[in-house]
Symmetry: C2
Subunit: 281 residues, 2 copies
């Protein structure tokens, strides 16, 4: 098993022994590790001599208390997962260790958080940006790895890094999918068998949008209409959004002229799933 730190000071002490002699990689997670996280670790291991995985379900980024309560917590399994993946050190702090008092200074995300998930999850990306800034400062890694599945999060963290002159290099890692195309997510484990079958509709809608773009359609209204038609009209499914935004600033476009991100959020029963594809003309 990799050593586990629960305290910032302990982690810093362990990292001090490594610093300067190896490339230090950081993989921030909320645990409930799956093959998507495995891919992040794999990328980190490829580049870095010492890989730290953080496991912290960050209360600050949950807009709904029931979502925070329900979020899967599987630390013992996660540690075995990290062991198999060759992780060098796990940082698994308590909420008190990360937030001894409610933070009076937080990172606030403008513009890039206005649409997609940011529109439906007030404060979510402020919470993400704040905890990621804290983890960057705690670990002081050379490189940090984030999944492309959370496209808006990745765009915001890239921007955060530039805006605050964070010296850690941000690396985006491609989404890992089930054979039918469903993006891996810790939330998938909430799905019943019937919901699991329906859940692939989100990926199919994104593929439809991709097909329209490949066929030369540039009108976002038309693309969204075609994509939305792939979501079956059953009571278990509710499309929260399906938007086409520019890949850098995450702003909706009317017509596709440059690199875009087609992103959607689909409620499957009481579980909210997100996915996206990037398209570059």
């Amino acid at each position: 098993m990799p050593p586990v730190s629960e305290r910032v000071a302990d982690l810093r002490g362990r990292l001090a022994e490594q610093r300067g002699s190896v490339v230090l990689g950081l993989v921030p997670t909320m645990g409930a590790l799956h093959a998507g996280h495995g891919r992040l670790i794999e990328y980190a291991k490829r580049d870095c001599g010492f890989v730290v995985v953080t496991i912290f379900v960050n209360p600050l980024q949950f807009d709904r208390p029931e979502d925070l309560d329900r979020y899967p917590r599987t630390l013992a399994e996660d540690l075995r997962f990290c062991d198999r993946a060759g992780v060098d050190l796990v940082f698994a702090p308590t909420p008190d260790e990360m937030y001894p008092t409610a933070p009076a200074c937080r990172v606030h995300v403008q513009k890039l958080a206005d649409h997609l998930c940011g529109r439906y999850r007030p404060g979510h990306f402020d919470g993400v940006a704040t905890v990621v800034t804290k983890l960057f400062n705690i670990v002081e890694a050379d490189r940090a790895y984030f999944g492309e599945k959370d496209a808006q999060q990745l765009a915001i963290i890239r921007r955060l890094s530039r805006d605050l002159n964070i010296s850690t290099t941000i690396v985006g890692v491609p989404t890992v999918r089930e054979p039918d195309g469903l993006a891996l997510s810790s939330r998938n484990q909430h799905l019943s068998a019937a919901e699991r079958t329906l859940a692939v509709a989100l990926y199919q809608a994104l593929c439809e949008a991709h097909g329209q773009l490949m066929a030369g359609v540039r009108d976002v209204g038309l693309i969204k209409e075609a994509a939305g038609s792939r979501i079956p009209g059953v009571p278990e499914l509710r499309l929260e959004y399906l938007e086409i935004v520019d890949s850098e600033e995450m702003q909706p476009v009317d017509e596709v002229k440059g690199p875009v991100c087609v992103a959607g959020a689909l409620w499957v029963g009481t579980t909210r799933l997100i996915d996206n594809i990037q398209w570059n003309p």
Copy 2:
């Protein structure tokens, strides 16, 4: 003359040569250096083997455009000042280097910015916290030095450091005063001779408050009344605020029970001056 970096990448390159071998000190300033800054540098030199002074008039922290335009800029003199003070490296970036695009991710300060200057300068402390976070990330110093004259700023930066797990140690440095008690400030150079004479009223009001506290008065209303009476009723002077707040959270108190900061802002003609004293029962 100390070497001057205008670019982040250049600065980082120069610092990389020092890192690990010496204690690295950071003195963030907006230039127009005076003996108060000299004291910061002196403290830094005492503790650190390599001292970086940053000179940057941060547009993000100015709530009034005319104040930004009017803020003194004296780089050539500042460099000579740094040379005499034994500074090892000066970082003097352009606004474009610090903000190549308007930052979409900024530090937002809650609660601690609600009163005193924060109440009268909307967004000011968000701008301060954002630029200081950037400078911390750029320089990655072991220790950073801030004047106690800006008491609310210092309290916020201490809190910022804790909230975002910044590893740089924050050091507060006592205020340097003119013989009559006026706190040194880059803004003092805006004062006419007559205004300069009147300006000491702010310090005298703080001393009156201190005298009341020493005499055992604990009722904040009484203390403020006595202190305010020390501001002459002349048209050149306007007391913006004089408040007594707890030293940690910067919240107004009705009765003095623990460590407090007595802080005031006084307009002298078109120049706004601030000052404070700490009091610990």
